[in-house]
Amino acid sequence: MSAALTTAYRLSIFSRVLAASVGAYVLINLANLALSILLPFEQYKALLFAMQTSFIYYTLAIIWVFSVRTATKAWLGLIAVAVPLALVDAYYYFQGALP
């Protein structure tokens, strides 16, 4: 491990920690909102279901962030999922179609 403790390594870890805490958290919020809107249940059921399961998605996101080869790839992965979710959320939000 001592050989790996270069500045680049440390920066990579810092970036991943940021991705796992802030990035993944934003992603989970987007996902929760999208699930609450899209799931074919009544509103509260959809919301509760999304919130109940959010811990699982969050864990998966953390695992993703720390398992891929580079920190950049970790961020790109999060963004790739976040963008469509954000589009869905924004679509309903600006239409005023939120229940």
Binding site: R16, I28, N29, N32, L33, S36, F41, E42, Q43, Y44, K45, L47, L48, F49, A50, M51, Q52, S54, F55, Y58, T59, I62, I63, F66, S67, V68, R69, Y93, L98, P99
Partner: protein, 541 residues
């Protein structure tokens, strides 16, 4: 990251565990203690006498009704707690006065009754947080504003969950680990132990962590419900979500009519409830508007009746004594019900003695899993350094000291809470507060002690202190109350005796650890001195 998926997960598991390990140890231990919250309450209120026998449930109800009619005829609500189940060793009553200018909710007064004669027992002197305070610490902590404490615990639990999932990924051989323990092999044994503790109770750890998180669904992503709903009609977003999730109670209970009418006898209503639910299922009886034409009597079932907290009740007209509504509780849809069932599993209120023992056992295993994990972190690093002949750096030494302060210090602190309960003056003004201060001052001292004491000596000494702090509790109980083992065992006061004996056993376990560590230390010292001798010295000796 690292080469390979499993390696990077191992790295993640290690660091996630280190970040929150100490706090998780605290959460797991105080939470585990919570499976005995009622028993601890009982031990910490020794002024409430033990009653070897009690009247029948019907007679208890009549005694309580007579007492309440005497002391609180004008109250807004009466509450009667019947003896039964583990939650209720005493016949207790409480009444809430009608709200007035000084007290908007109305003042509530509690009384414990002799379950044979109905005479009130004076037991209010000793203020204590009891087992309730101890178990609530596992999510409310202490000294911090509740919101902050809850958020800290939530973040730790999220990391705990991720730590468990990565821990499972790291294990190729879950099944094999279950049967693998190689004692006396240093680092290898610690790792085996950590695996065994984790894998052996894995379903428990998973469920208790995940269900623990469910208590925080709303706090985890509060932005989402706030985007979906807005406060309206005097209902906050939180309340709307809560009622949407758990339903609005189906039964509406009539308010006071303002017309006086005598309250019917409660005992016959109990017969009716018995035909509805079966015998001895009632734990509390609530009377709304006693003495009013709209008096309503609500019978509630024991929490051990269902895994999810039972929310059904039977409601009677207090004047005619007729069943008004057999309320099944609010309708809850499947994900709401899953939520409540998982939370029920977390609290374990439904568990009888055997299941409760398993809960405790697994809780202790989980606590030890976290403890061994923390020890592994620094041991692994120290061994690596030993090979290269380097001294452990500051980080490792800090972890070592925090490990000792947490793993042995916290149990000592909890013992200090029990000691304070018996030693602080009964009439002391801020007594309940000082019980808590005693606990946290002791914890602080355990963190400070290894700063100036050599680590291995400090381990042995604190383990002995823990052994003494627990093993002497029955003696302390004997010296400060009339409820010691000689009395409690003879009377059949099993909760009191059980607590004393459990503390004694806990003390012995700590003593065994202390002796083992002491032995290992002396062996290690001899080998070190041997190896430090030069070959010439060895030849001459």
């Amino acid at each position: 990251m690292k080469e390979g998926f499993r390696q990077s997960m191992s790295w993640l598991h290690t660091w996630l565990g280190l970040i929150v390990g100490w706090l998780l140890f605290y959460v797991y231990l105080t939470g585990t203690v919570g499976y005995l919250d009622k028993e601890i309450d009982y031990w910490m209120t020794p002024d409430k006498p033990f009653f070897a026998s009690s009247a029948t449930t019907r007679e208890q109800l009549a005694l309580a009704q007579t007492q309440l009619a005497t002391v609180a005829p004008d109250a807004a609500v009466w509450n009667i707690q019947l003896i039964g189940g583990r939650e209720a060793p005493w016949l207790e009553i409480a009444w809430t006065q009608k709200p007035d200018a000084n007290n908007k909710r109305g003042l509530t007064v509690h009384e414990t009754l002799n379950p044979v004669t109905g005479v009130p027992v004076d037991s209010s002197a000793r203020a204590t947080g009891g087992g309730q305070l101890l178990y609530k610490m596992h999510y409310n902590m202490a000294y911090l504003p509740l919101t902050w404490a809850n958020i800290i615990i939530m973040i730790c639990s999220v990391i705990m969950f991720a730590g468990m999932i990565t821990g499972i990924i790291v294990h190729k051989n879950i099944f094999k680990d279950f049967f693998t323990f190689r004692p006396g092999k240093g680092q290898r044994s610690w790792l085996d132990g950590h695996n065994l503790l984790s894998v052996g109770s894995l379903p428990f750890h998973l469920i208790v962590t995940y269900s623990g998180l469910l208590f925080f669904v709303y706090q985890f992503t509060p932005a989402v419900p706030h985007l979906l709903y807005s406060a309206s009609a005097g209902k906050s977003v939180g309340l709307q979500v809560y009622q949407g999730t758990y339903g609005v109670p189906g039964a509406t209970i009539a308010g006071a009519a303002g017309v006086a009418a005598p309250l019917a006898s409660l005992a016959p209503m109990l017969d009716k409830v018995d035909t509805l639910w079966g015998k001895d299922k009632v734990t509390t009886v609530e009377v709304r508007n006693p003495g009013d034409a709209n008096a309503r009597v609500v019978f509630k079932p024991l929490p051990s009746e269902t895994i999810a907290f039972p929310d059904y009740s039977a409601i009677f007209d207090g004047v005619s004594g007729k069943l008004v509504e057999n309320d099944p509780g609010p309708y809850i849809y499947p994900s709401g019900y899953a939520d409540q069932t998982l939370k029920g599993l977390h609290k374990g209120l439904f568990a009888g003695p055997f299941l409760r023992f398993l809960y405790l056992f697994m809780g202790v295993a989980g606590t030890a899993m976290i403890g061994t994990g923390l020890l592994l972190w620094s041991n692994t690093r120290k061994q690596k350094l030993l090979k290269t002949n380097k001294d452990p750096h500051f980080g490792i030494m800090l972890v070592d000291k925090l490990n000792l302060g947490t793993i042995v210090g916290l149990p000592i602190a909890i013992a200090a809470y029990f000691w304070a309960n018996r030693l602080l003056p009964v009439a002391m003004e801020t007594r309940a507060d000082w019980e808590v201060h005693a606990m946290y001052l002791t914890l602080a001292a355990s963190f400070l002690y290894p700063i100036w004491r050599q680590l291995e000596k400090a381990w042995v000494e604190l383990l002995w202190l823990a052994a003494a702090a627990y093993a002497l509790l029955p003696l302390l109980n004997a010296l400060t109350t009339e409820r010691h083992l000689g009395v409690s065992l003879l009377q059949g006061d099993w909760i009191m005796a059980g607590f004393d004996l459990t503390m004694l056993a806990t003390g012995l376990v700590f003593a065994v650890f202390a002796i083992r560590l002491q032995k290992r230390r002396s062996i290690k010292l001899t080998t070190i001195t041997e190896s430090r001798r030069t070959p010439g010295e060895l030849a001459t000796s």
